[in-house]
Amino acid sequence: MKALLATVISLGLTTVVIGNAYYQKKQFYPSIVYLTNSNPSMAVMYLQAFILVLLVGKLLRKIFFGQLRPAEFEHLIERSWYAITETCLAFTVFRDDFNPKFIALFTLLLFLKAFHWLAEDRVDYMERSPVIGLLFHVRILTLLMLLAHADSYFIHHAYQFTASKGPSVQLVFGFEYSILIIMIVNILIKYVLHAIDSRWEAPWESKAAVLLYTELAINFLKVLLYIGFVAVMVRIYTLPLFAFRPMYETMRSFKKAYNDVVLSRRAIRNMNTLYPDATPAELAAADNECIICREEMHTGAKKLPCNHIFHAACLRLWFQRQQTCPTCRLNVLRAPAPEAGAAGPAPAPGVGGHAPHAPHAAPTPPPPGPPPPPFPNMPPPPPMMAWGMPPPPPPRPASLASLTTAELQRMEGNERRNIEARLQLLREIQSMLDASVLLMQQYSTVVANLPQNNATVSTQTETRIEEVNTTSTLPTTSQVKTEPDVVPTTSSYKQPSPIPSTSKSNDTPSPVQPDTTTPIDTNRDKTDVDAADELRRRRLQKFAMDK
């Protein structure tokens, strides 16, 4: 109603103005000259043009979209305000070229932009509507084709103009239409994906991933364009303030898309490789319903480390947003994956006692007894620091050989506390070994720079490992026995004293974090663990023989 009133008023005003001009001048050309020279008449003419544009817009909207949904309309209005503000900002940069043609070009740009937004919203809506008729496809495809043609025409025009007459406001148009054409490509891809999806009977699982990658690529292109545009504008004119808000938003969404891709890839890889498929028994126990899609789970269900079960496909979709368990919000990227258990401190023979939750639980169940050193997965620096100083004197009997068997057994202890203490110590050995591998890596890089020292490296490695073992295992009574056979070897490799070298490598900050999940380190750990196992076995044998 309001629109009709405005149309009628502006039409009436225009008639009056033109009639007045013609009445005064009686001829065509003089009246035109009169009109263009009189500011009030020009204002009326501008108003009329504006109303006409709106009417044409309405008509096209009716043709291509029919009735707009309220959400679409709100979205359109909101974006229009931003666009109008930014256009006004752009006017300030190009105030020298300010003329009716210039305004007309900007109005056209806004007009086309509005249709791009509407098309985008409409295509996004495809996913939600249960029925999509033929009319919808015809409308969207024609609109997209028309918009693409208009965009490419204006880009071409801007290019020609800039090439022949040097930089001008056409730079802005060229850039804006390039952004718009990228948008068209994006909409088209989405349209194709949704259309394929709606034709398939089964849900298309990888669609979300494809959409994510498209978004990443499109945003990357846009970011490049914006950066190029700002650079050009700064060189030729001034800072293009009007491009900053969209540029910032594009960069933010690019960063978000990038993060999403990286994190979700990691989570999905974890899911595919680490988490076990749920067995039928587990499915039955868990009600057989995937809580994400509320549908039954038959196959392709995965169990997270927290024992919650979902469809693998549903999990994949969720991991593209959040890398947490939907039920308990366990962070699957930070959670100790079963893999860590395999590469980690498991090999200690006594760990069998913890078996009940070994496969999924954290690799280090909280040790209740002795003071827990803070190492979940990676050996922290403290043990290394300790090497710089003389090893702490552990309380030990003068000679174990002098003790009776009963005394020895008492020392060994059979209570849970003793076993825990032993396990704890074994773990410490593990972390110290890890640390020593690290040190050795640093050491060998140092040595690699001094070729003449190559010969000593291997012997040193052995000294180091054995020394670590002896110092750290001393408290465990079961292993103290072996000391005599280790000490001689240490003393026989007396060449470079290990203490100075340690302090040396302590001075250089460690560049590599001992990350047990990277494959190389895992291998190294393995070999070290093997060596330690070998040593341990020898000691146990010896101990048994002595007994």
Binding site: C293, E295, T324
Partner: protein, 168 residues
């Protein structure tokens, strides 16, 4: 094949019609569009909203249940956690990324485990026990804290209004 969002919404609708929770009715406004629901919530007993029947609209995103729906009361409301335009501000309706109030831990946020039923039950308990720290409606939060009688009076007026009764 319609999207997974549509199927899940249909499943939830079925569930809600088969086992309706007490004091709550919800369903799509129009069976053509499952992404806009209307819900009727009865004011919880023993609170100042007792006896009222409050209509609200739920709008679901295309990627539901990965993103939360939006909920808005379509009657006049005066409550610390409801904006003056009727939008409901409770933590389970917020995606883990955004934090409009800056006080919620991500553990209380939306996750696909939530459902329409859980949202509506949370809203019922929100009506019973406003959280005056979140402050979607600062005036209401202030009145709830400082002038409970006045708050109860306004609530009673609103309850009568939803029932089509004249103000007392």
């Amino acid at each position: 094949m319609a999207g997974s969002a549509l199927r899940r919404l249909m499943a939830e609708y079925k569930q809600l019609t088969l086992n309706p929770p007490e004091g709550i009715i919800a369903g799509p406004i129009n069976e053509e569009n499952f992404f806009e629901w209307e819900a009727l919530i009865t004011g919880p007993e023993g609170t100042c909203f007792e006896g009222g029947i409050f209509p609200a609209k739920l709008v679901f995103p295309p990627d539901y249940p990965l993103s939360p729906p939006k909920m808005q009361f379509i009657c006049e409301m005066f409550h610390p956690n409801i904006y003056s335009d009727g939008r409901v501000c409770i933590s389970i309706l917020h995606a883990p990324g955004d934090d409009p109030m800056g006080y919620e831990s991500s553990a209380e946020r939306w996750s696909p485990v939530q459902s329409v039923e859980k949202i509506l039950l949370s809203v019922v308990s929100m009506l019973a026990e406003p959280n005056d720290e979140s402050g979607a409606n600062v005036d209401a939060a202030k009145m709830w804290r400082e002038d409970r009688d006045q708050f109860n009076k306004i609530a009673e007026r609103l309850v009568r209004k939803t029932l089509g009764l004249p103000p007392p």
